[in-house]
Subunit: 363 residues, 2 copies
């Protein structure tokens, strides 16, 4: 999403290089775990499935945003500590995705079988079919738990100076509680209980705006010794940006070009995802339009024609246009917050580039 700080000459912190270093750090960490597991005759698949998960790719968005926070606090060149904390954020994210896939019973992630499916096929060699599915899910819960505690281990061994360490732990504690609450709300959010658009907006706030943008940005800044003023400025930049990012995601999920997004336009509808888009449309729909939406939401059997009709309702109720407007409003608030914060040039430029790409992307 963001390639590098685009300043001329040699940038102080090359984000592409930083991403590669974070990935190498994760590889090294898991290599050491694999060796320990081998020596102690512990179960190899617990580590191997996690390694395969990381090798399948990912945008590494949270480490990159963490690096932007570091630049915002004039951290300068990247340090081993910054790379380690970046790796920890990515390893925490792996935990969240692995558990999420178990909860959603998803089959695929990043173009490969999800961790529980991968483990299920391992178990199917030694166990009956019914057992292996259940074992795969249980083992994936444990692999997710391992990824969470290992993300902590990466932070604990980052060699941080005590005051910085405490500040970072406090932000991580907040980030983790916020994500869990966001996930919990998301799990229980449902078109059937007739909640308005406030509920999906709260989910977005906790699951994306705070978890993906605000906290990683603040953690990076805290690593470079940022004070409360800067952390508050970064929050003002991050929250509308994260919201715009997720609202764009919701629009692309239903209106995006499958050739470009790589995802079917039917997935979100089939899953019955209760987005702000859907909530707004249901709020303004006449009985016929509401019936169309309720007929497709959470319905596994819908066709392309059903999805077309649903999209038409999302357009006709004005919901899609209102979400576009919400995105534009939030983008503007991000830029205004960036103007006010007057960050160092490299951080400002990286965040503007990130914001632009995140909000106006087509995939």
């Amino acid at each position: 999403m963001i390639a590098s700080v685009g300043s001329p000459g040699v940038p102080v912190l090359d984000l592409d290089l930083f991403r590669a270093r974070v990935e190498a750090r994760i590889e090294q960490f898991l290599d050491a775990k694999a060796r320990a597991v081998d020596t102690q005759r512990l179960p190899a698949p617990a580590v191997e499935s996690l390694r395969a998960f990381f090798r399948a790719g990912g945008k590494r968005l949270r480490p990159l945003i963490c690096a932007c926070g570091w630049l915002a606090a004039r951290g300068g060149r990247e340090t081993a500590s910054l790379i380690r904390v970046g790796a920890a954020l990515e390893m925490f994210h792996a935990f969240a995705l692995i558990h999420d896939d178990v909860m959603d019973r998803s089959d695929r992630r990043r173009g490969r079988p999800t961790v529980h499916r991968l483990l299920e096929s391992d178990f199917s060699r030694s166990h009956p079919a019914g057992d292996s599915a259940r074992l795969g899910e249980s083992a994936a819960i444990l692999v997710g738990d391992l990824s969470l505690v290992w993300s902590d281990e990466l932070v604990h061994t980052a060699g941080l100076e005590p005051a910085v360490f405490m500040r970072v732990l406090e932000l991580i504690d907040r980030m983790r509680s916020e994500l869990m609450f966001g996930q919990y709300l998301d799990l229980t959010a449902d078109a059937r209980n007739g909640a308005g658009p406030e509920l999906p907006l709260t989910v977005i706030r906790y699951k994306t705006a705070k978890y993906t943008v605000e906290r990683p940005l603040q953690i990076g800044a805290a690593l470079a010794g940022a004070g409360e003023g800067l952390l508050a400025d970064l929050s003002a930049i991050a929250l509308p940006l994260g919201e715009a990012f997720q609202l764009r995601d919701d629009l692309l999920g239903t209106f995006g070009d499958p050739e470009v997004t790589g995802k079917s336009q039917l997935d979100d509808l089939r899953a019955g995802k209760y987005t702000a888009l859907i909530a707004l449309a249901l709020g303004d729909a006449d009985p016929g339009q509401a019936a169309v939406l309720r007929g497709v939401l959470g319905n596994e059997a819908i066709s392309d024609a059903d999805a077309d009709r649903a999209r038409q309702v999302l357009d006709e109720t004005g919901a899609a246009a209102r979400v576009e407007q919400m995105i534009a409003d939030r983008y503007r608030r991000t830029l205004t917050a960036l103007d006010r914060a007057a960050l160092p040039a490299d951080a400002d430029q990286a965040l503007r580039s990130l914001a632009h790409d995140a909000v106006w992307r087509r995939s």
Copy 2:
């Protein structure tokens, strides 16, 4: 299990009082979370289900063992930090049990519905039956995750001096990885793949000896500034004790008096639990005896008569007697390690009392 340090006069640290203070600390912590959730309109059941879980009781074994470690390192009277870390150990344990119950699909824990069952019944008011079971499990995974990250928050806010803090975090990191590996091995341990008794003994080592005894004891000692020598002494006391404790548990699970244990003698057999007892019996069984055991293990439909026949095989193969012998050996090793360690009188007495009660209990 251990009531108090039984020294005459006023003990420096009353373990009954300590347990009550740990419980009060957890209540206060969750009260604060409940208030925050209320203010921010976050989902109340995420906190309430955890609160109900703690109120249902529990032995609080890990905090008590942690207090023994503290005494071993001459920590003196309990401090707010010790109570907070004890509460953190108990909150981490709640995470482990909540996830374990989801994985095992257990209906009851501590005489009450498990967290996922409790949440399922909440969801059943608003969702169709099939959905509510799945939602209950997913929500319980998240509640377990919350309990894990809150256990960290308790440690992070315990006001520990930097060097002690780092030492405690390192031990906690080890403890958590060890538990996950133990759980993973336990999940995949299975009479069908014909592993010998080494596998269940490895599970015992990681799941009980290290997780329940060794690490909590060392964490308590580290809180009082223990050096490496004492930590090694405590390890030598803890590992055989933890193994004996779990081996007793396995025997009680099949041979215990249900009136005393409060558990059916059929549960472990029905669950197909692959204990050292079972592994030893399968190793020495003749074809007829092996067929009896394989017929009951993991068989939901077994009767009391089937269980009687299985118990007969466990006796006739000498497996039950060998497990008794293993328990006695380990108990003796614990006492020898206690002799060698020459701990302060209060710690020595508390650990001997704990060891005796844990190993020779009837429930």
